[in-house]
Symmetry: C2
Subunit: 153 residues, 2 copies
DNA sequence: GTGCTTGCAAACGTTTTGCAGACTC
DNA sequence: GAGTCTGCAAAACGTTTGCAAGCAC
């Protein structure tokens, strides 16, 4: 595939409102378009909810029916580059997008598909030894940890 | 998507040779076909090497030029169900297949794409607290852990 | 001969891209 | 007006599936 693994996002931006985010967009020469504003509104309305690009597109279309899925993808990519948005891979299906400020780790059950949100503290020891032994700094948010949940064990 | 997240593989099978694996296949009512034997030979020749389905297909075709990629996928799926083979997701690209007996965890650099093989011991603490706090039993092999390697930090 | 396996082609779901027109600033 | 952004269509990617012919047992 040879493509970049993730849009190497900036430091987590200090973005508390839709307008903060649009200001960031403008600061790098971008424009504050309706589709961008509405996408951000949707993200800020349920900041802890994971949504796929398709789900975001449907939510955006309630207010602007003609916004195309490819526009959603392009805007998410841009917002991710700016550090406003983050995506997580929950297993084999579509990526889940979220505001960067509410990012967290995930356990995903291989059996039933249930996802469990995990406090970052659980990764402290792994993060510490990864750095100590490999000089590797772990990002526990980007891919879910797979396994079996209590019900399926 | 709604499909099974992973072919819920049997316990790791005690399979030390190609013929052991083919015996397992037969025990399930399957047949020992040339494409299956050659695929297993390729896997046993470099047991620690990760290979994509496409790479395996190319290697198999050296000995049997007409083996189709879909046959590779079907046979890998079957061998995974039998506990002989395991696959890992290394980032956004194609899955990496391996003999189950040489499975291990991975760190993958989001910046440069380098993968680091990780001893399972590094996951001990995460595994322990995941069980204690969530009743979740971690499988550290199925998805790589992302982050930044020493060179890219 | 039974029925598992194969090659092929075509579909799949997610994501990316090329383009001409539309819009923001 | 310059340059960014959009909708659309089409492609890309890895993977799966339906089918009729082929092979293992």
């Amino acid at each position: 595939m040879g493509k970049t693994l993730s849009p190497h996002h900036a430091e987590l931006a200090d973005v508390a409102t839709v307008d903060d985010a649009l200001a960031l967009v403008r600061a790098r020469g971008g424009r504050a378009t309706p589709s961008r504003r509405i996408l951000l509104e949707v993200l800020f309305e349920a900041p802890r909810r994971h949504m796929t690009a398709e789900e975001l597109a449907q939510a955006v279309r309630v207010r602007a029916p003609d916004v195309h899925l490819s526009t959603i993808y392009r805007n998410l990519e841009e917002l991710e580059r700016l550090g406003v948005v983050v995506h997580t891979h929950l297993g084999h299906s579509a990526s889940a997008y979220q505001l960067a400020s509410s990012a967290h780790g995930h356990f995903l059950c291989e059996e039933c598909g249930k996802t469990i949100e995990v406090p970052d503290a659980l990764f402290n020891e792994l993060t510490r030894s990864a750095t100590a032994e490999f000089g590797f700094s772990v990002n526990p948010h980007h891919f879910a940890i797979l396994g079996r949940c209590a019900d399926c064990s």
